[in-house]
C-alpha cells in the first residue's frame, strides 16, 4: 500500500482535481514557483502555469474576495491563506460575502470555493502565526469547515471540498504535514459532514480534531494496556457537525472528552460538549471534559509554548479523572 504524507496528499488532491477540471485554480501568496511556504503547492505551477497557479500580492482580503467573485461566476478557486491568523483580514469577504451570497440572493448564486489554510502552534512562531481559529468559521452559517487529521482524509476531504458548490474552509495542521499513511493513488472522496470513529472503545469517548486525533490515538494505545478502552471520534467536519456519530459513541461509553487546539472559552470544545449534553445527557456518567488550549495568546518561547500545545499527558490525565 502506497504511503504518502499529508502534504503530498493535499498536493495530489489539488493536482488531480486541476487535471480533471479546468475551472479549478489555485491562488495565494507564494503558491506559484515557490510552491507555498509549507510546500503544499510545490510543482503545480510547473504543471499548470501562471494562469491557473497564481501568486498574489499580500492582500488577504482581496485573495478571499476574488475567490468569492470568481466562484460565483464559474471558476472553482482554491485560495490559500498562508496562516490561519491572517483570516482576520479576510473575514468580511469570507463571512459577509462568500458565506451569505447564496442565501441573500435567494439561492441565485453558488460559491464553489475552498479557502485552505493551516492552524496549530508549536513552531515558535508566536502569537500571530500559530492560532487555531476554527470556532469562528464554524459559527458562520453558509460556510462548511473541515479539518482532516490524516493523509487519507486530507486527500478525500479536499476533493470533496473542491467539488462542493459551497464555500469550504479547509484547515490543515502544520504538524501533520510530514505525517504519512496509506493514500490510494486514484481519486476518491471523503464526505463532508461525516465523522469517523478512528478507534473503537467502550470506556471513554475522546472527540478530537486535527492533530489531537493523532494524540488521542496514541493515548488510546497506551491506556489500552491498562485495560482502559478509548473510543476516538474524529468529527472531520466541524460544520455541518455529525452529531449522530458523536452522540452514538457517548451513549455507549458514558464519558466524553473533547480535545481541540483552539482556546477553550467559546471554542470548538464548548459546542461539542453542548451537543453531547443535548443528545446524550441521560447516558453521561460524568460531565464532558474539555481538553483544549488555555485562554492565552501563543507565546514564543518554547518553554511556554509547550504548555499551550496539548500533550498526550494532559489527555491521559483527563481520562484518569473521569473513568
Amino acid at each position: 500500500m502506497r504511503e504518502i504524507s499529508y502534504v503530498e496528499a493535499i498536493r495530489e488532491a489539488l493536482r488531480q482535481e486541476m487535471e480533471r477540471d479546468e475551472r479549478v485554480i489555485v491562488m495565494g501568496e507564494d503558491v506559484g514557483r515557490y510552491g507555498g511556504i509549507f510546500k503544499v503547492t510545490s510543482g503545480l505551477w510547473e504543471q499548470f502555469g501562471d494562469e491557473r497557479v497564481r501568486d498574489t500580492p499580500i492582500s488577504e482580503a482581496a485573495i478571499t474576495g476574488v475567490a468569492v467573485g470568481a466562484a460565483a461566476t464559474g471558476l472553482r478557486p482554491v485560495a490559500e491563506l498562508m496562516f490561519m491568523d491572517f483570516v482576520t483580514i479576510a473575514m468580511d469577504q469570507l463571512v459577509n460575502q462568500g458565506a451569505k451570497m447564496r442565501y441573500m440572493f435567494g439561492g441565485k448564486a453558488k460559491v464553489p470555493m475552498v479557502l485552505r489554510t493551516n492552524m496549530g502552534a508549536g513552531r515558535s512562531s508566536a502569537a500571530q502565526h500559530s492560532q487555531s481559529l476554527q470556532a469562528w468559521v464554524a459559527h458562520v452559517p453558509g460556510l462548511k469547515v473541515v479539518m482532516p487529521s490524516d493523509p487519507y482524509d486530507a486527500k478525500g476531504l479536499l476533493i470533496s471540498a473542491i467539488r462542493d458548490d459551497n464555500p469550504v474552509v479547509y484547515l490543515e495542521h502544520k504538524f501533520l504535514y510530514p505525517v504519512k499513511s496509506h493514500v490510494p493513488e486514484e481519486i476518491y472522496t471523503v464526505p463532508i459532514g461525516r465523522a469517523e470513529v478512528k478507534r473503537a472503545g467502550r470506556d471513554v469517548t475522546i472527540v478530537a480534531t486535527s492533530m489531537m486525533v493523532r494524540k488521542a490515538l496514541k493515548v488510546a494505545e497506551i491506556l489500552s494496556k491498562e485495560g482502559i478502552e478509548i473510543e476516538v471520534v474524529d468529527p472531520r467536519t466541524l460544520s455541518p457537525l455529525d452529531k449522530e456519530t458523536i452522540a452514538r459513541s457517548v451513549m455507549k461509553t458514558g464519558r466524553a472528552i473533547v480535545s481541540d487546539e483552539g482556546c477553550t472559552s467559546y471554542g470548538v470544545g464548548a459546542e461539542i460538549a453542548a451537543v453531547i449534553m443535548e443528545e446524550a445527557f441521560d447516558y453521561l456518567d460524568a460531565p464532558v471534559r474539555r481538553v483544549c488550549a488555555p485562554d492565552v495568546p501563543i507565546p514564543f518561547s518554547p518553554a511556554l509554548e509547550k504548555m499551550v500545545t496539548i500533550s498526550e499527558a494532559e489527555l491521559i490525565a483527563a481520562v484518569r479523572e473521569i473513568v
Binding site: 482581496a62 441565485k108 452559517p141
Partner: protein, 324 residues
Amino acid sequence: MDDSLDRVKLKEMLKKMLEIRHFEEQVNDLYRKGIMPGLAHLYNGEEAVAVGACSALAQDDYITSTHRGHGHLIAKGGRLKFMMAEILGKKTGYCKGKGGSMHIADFDLGILGANGIVGGGFAIAVGAALSSRLLGQGRVTVCFFGDGATNQGSFHESVNLASVWKLPVVFVCENNLYGISVAQSRHQAIKDIAVRAQAYGIPGVIVDGMDVLAVYGEVKKAVDRAREGGGPTLVECKTYRFGGHHVGDPGNGIVYRTKEEMDEWKERCPIRRMQGYLLEKGVMTQQEIDEMEEEVIKEVQEAVDFAVNSPFPDPEELTEDLYA
C-alpha cells in the same frame, strides 16, 4: 454625439433614467407609508452614472453594485417588479425576500449583487473579471462604488490586483461628495479620486456624472480597452445625490449639506439635461418625452402593484437557499 449611439439607444438611455427616478420616488413613498420594511438608499440625481456606464455594456457583461444599488440594477436591465417585490420583502422578489434593497442580484443579467458592505463589491468584481479571462468569455465587469468606499482597504487591494493581473474590469466611482454625513474633503485629502489610478499604473479619468453621454463615452472607452486586454481603468463621475443618505435621513441631508449646494446640483439634473439634448438634436419631441414618462410611470406603478399584492415568504423558506 458618439457614433455608436443610435436614436434607439439614446431614447433607451433616457427611459432608463426615468425608470430609476420614478422607481426611487415610489420606494420613498412606500417607506413613508410604512409599507417598505427597513431603509433604502435612493439613486435620485445619479441616474446618468448607472445608465451611462451600463449602456456601454453587453447583456452578459457583469456589474457589482452597492447599498445604493437600485439605479445600477435598473440600468443593467433588472426587472422592476421583481426588484420592487424584493424591496418589500416578498416571496416574488428577486431574492425571495431574503435580500431586500441592499442585496438584489440577477445573475442572468450579469448583476452580481448589490452589497450592504461599503467596499464589499470590489474584490467580487475582480473575481468575476478573473473568471471571464480564464474561461475565455470576453466579459467585462463594471464595479460601481462611492467616494467613501475609496477609503476602504478593499478598494486598494482589489484595484491593485486587477491592475497587476490586467483584468477586464472598469472601476466606476460615483463621487457624490459625501459618505453619509462626511464630506469628501473630510474623508480624503484629494479632490479628484481619479488620481488614485496612478497608484496602480492604470488610467484614471474624470467625467461629469450628470451627463449620461459623457459617462457613456468614457466608460465605453474603458470597457473596450478592458475587453482588448488593456486592463482596468478608474472612471470618476462627479455627481450628487438629490435626497438624503437613505430614505430616513432628515431633511434630505440638510444636517450636513447647505440648501444652496443642494439646489445648485439639482439645477444640473441629468434627466432634464438629456431631455434637452434629445430635443435639441431632434431625436425626440416634447410629446414623445411626455409619453415616455407616462409609460414609465405606469410601468413603475405596475411594479408597485405586483409587489404590494405579492405574498410574503413562507416560514419553511427560512432555512432554504443556505447551502447549494
